[in-house]
């Protein structure tokens, strides 16, 4: 088990290197550098531009820049931000990742608390109106993307009913829970729908198993059968989609953070792309990829713990 984890962790290093190379190469293909003159009104002195580029090492060949960057990055120094004066990327990410993490965690909690019971209940009441309602909700949830859902939540609850502000000031996200409600719904509903669909089909598989009949035959109470025999076993396949779902949450979070003006790193990433803030883009990309890798790894490793039938040794 330990060797498996170590092997998997070591295998991540080349992946991260390739990811960083791709990002780096693409950013350097971009014609506009961070210190180019943007338009006629914002003309810059070429001497100043050269000095700025020299200060950030942008005049060196690309491979030298890449190695400098990566050797700093492993020491958790992701370099200065080009567009936020006097700030470095590590600090910016540290400061704003909190909001993204809060959004992600709340969305996952919501998805699990809403989606799993919905799927389980639907399976227990298969082919009744409960099941059909749950299936309908789940199908709609899967078929309506976060982007469209966010817009409709805003149209309904902000523009029409005036329950929540569209763009609250940034402090509101620190102090109150209210501005979080719509983004968490927008991000969590599609996820919970996917979970519900998956949980339902996993439960239906389990319900027909012989050991359930055995449990009934020996006279166990229904709650015990459902909780210990059905749900526990049905959760094994459900766990496998947690990894891919987190990846979905990561990409979903750019959209949702951007629309709801949440000061998380997703929104900073989107604005960094417009500003050609190389170091910010690199830093955010590496953090996101690392997160996805870690979640995939956790899913794979813990899967073996949940289901002893799965051998992960080789």
């Amino acid at each position: 088990m330990t060797t498996y984890v170590i092997r998997r962790v070591l295998a991540l290093i080349p992946v991260l290197i390739v990811v960083s190379l791709i990002t780096f190469a693409l950013m350097h293909l971009a014609p506009g550098g961070p210190f180019d003159q943007v338009d006629e009104t914002r003309r810059r002195d070429p001497a100043i531009q050269q000095r700025a580029e020299a200060a950030f090492g942008l005049n060196k060949p690309w491979y030298e820049q890449y190695f400098t960057y990566m050797s700093n990055a492993v020491r958790l120094n992701l370099g200065p931000s080009y567009s936020y004066k006097d700030r470095n990327v590590t600090d910016l990410l540290k400061e704003h990742i909190r909001y993204s993490a809060e959004l992600g965690v709340m969305a996952v909690i919501f998805a699990v608390l809403f989606g799993l019971p919905l799927g389980v209940i639907a399976a227990l009441r298969q082919n009744t109106w409960v099941d059909y309602l749950a299936l309908f909700l789940a199908t709609m949830g899967v078929a309506i993307p976060s982007f469209v859902l966010s817009l409709y939540l805003i149209l309904l609850f902000s523009s029409t009913l005036h329950w929540v502000d569209v763009a609250p000031d940034q402090q509101a996200f620190d102090t109150t829970l209210k501005p979080w409600i719509l983004p968490v719904l927008a991000l969590g509903l599609p996820t919970s729908a996917a979970l519900a669909r998956f949980a339902r089909s996993a439960m239906l598989d389990v319900i027909r198993q012989d050991y359930i009949r055995t449990a009934r035959a020996k006279g166990l109470r229904n709650q015990v059968i459902v909780a210990r025999h059905m749900v526990k076993n049905a959760m094994i396949p459900v766990w496998t989609i947690i990894g891919p779902l987190t990846a979905g949450l990561v990409t979903g979070s750019f959209i949702v953070e951007d629309i709801f003006s949440i000061p998380g790193i997703g929104r900073y990433f989107v604005s960094a792309i417009g500003a050609r803030d190389y170091s910010m883009i690199m830093g955010t990309t590496l953090v996101y990829c690392l997160l996805v890798i870690i979640f995939n790894l956790l899913t794979d490793v813990t899967y073996g713990l949940f289901d002893p039938r799965v051998k992960v040794s080789k």
């Binding site: 990811v19 990002t23 993307p145």
Partner: protein, 316 residues
Amino acid sequence: MAAITSEIIFDTAKPARSLWGDALKRLGRNRMAVASVVVITIFAVLAIAAPLIARHDPDFQSRARANRGNGGTDLPPLWDSEGKPDYWLGTDNLGRDIASRMLYGARVSLVVGFIPTFIIVFIGIVVGLNAGYRGGWVDSLLMRITDVTYAFPDLLLILIMVSALHDKPIADIFGGLLLIFVALAIVNWVGVARLVRGQVLSLREKEFIEAARSIGTPNWRIMFTHLLPNSLGPVIVSATFSVPGFILTEAFLSFIGVGVKPPTPTWGDMISSGYNSINTSPHEVWVPAACIGLLYLSFTFLGDGLRDALDPRMKL
């Protein structure tokens, strides 16, 4: 003797039922899937016939019909008492006719949904067949690429690619559409290739492949006439699911301003410009958002229906 034989044949002769014909029949019984096909067809007809239906040039800006900044208002839609009969959905902040822009925007969305799908299916089939049947370096390379794409969130890579090349000449071809096609295809072909590879790995051990090989069928023939048709079902299903994903990605890219270049009308760009006036004229957001949602929904339901029709065992 001859009479008996012909009688038996006559008795058991039923209309021929091929695998695909069977699947089509099952699809026809799925009401949601049929409704989805109808919706998609309507969108396609509207998009193709856009020049005939649209009452105005979608890019024509009129200061007279857009004075939001100067105290006036955009033209409201028809259901508002001040709406003008010729401007069904009113005008946007630049005085452009929203209905015409919606019609032309449908073209972009459908094209962005379909063309990259054809590209990834083509590349995915060629690479997947080779990786699965021949193995070797193609297979190893595919697996390494998979490792990377597994860690790199799709939208992240597309965003970086599109924004990096946004000011290059490639971004001006077809108003920026080509760049989006390429970015979507580069990121998504791996999924199809892996799907085909998996199918081929299980199929190539089957007897009919062994039989084909034993009579000396060349490899390319085995791949394209024996393996390909038998692994096509899941590919079609996954392609159907990728169409709405692409439509949505384009809408989001245009929403944040790195998608199709203005003035080409796209629904994502319309949402982004309408978003600023969401409180005064919400229809500038909800109309395009509803169309994106409806197309996404239809393709998802069609994909569900196709999955059930092509492989009843795969039912989720």
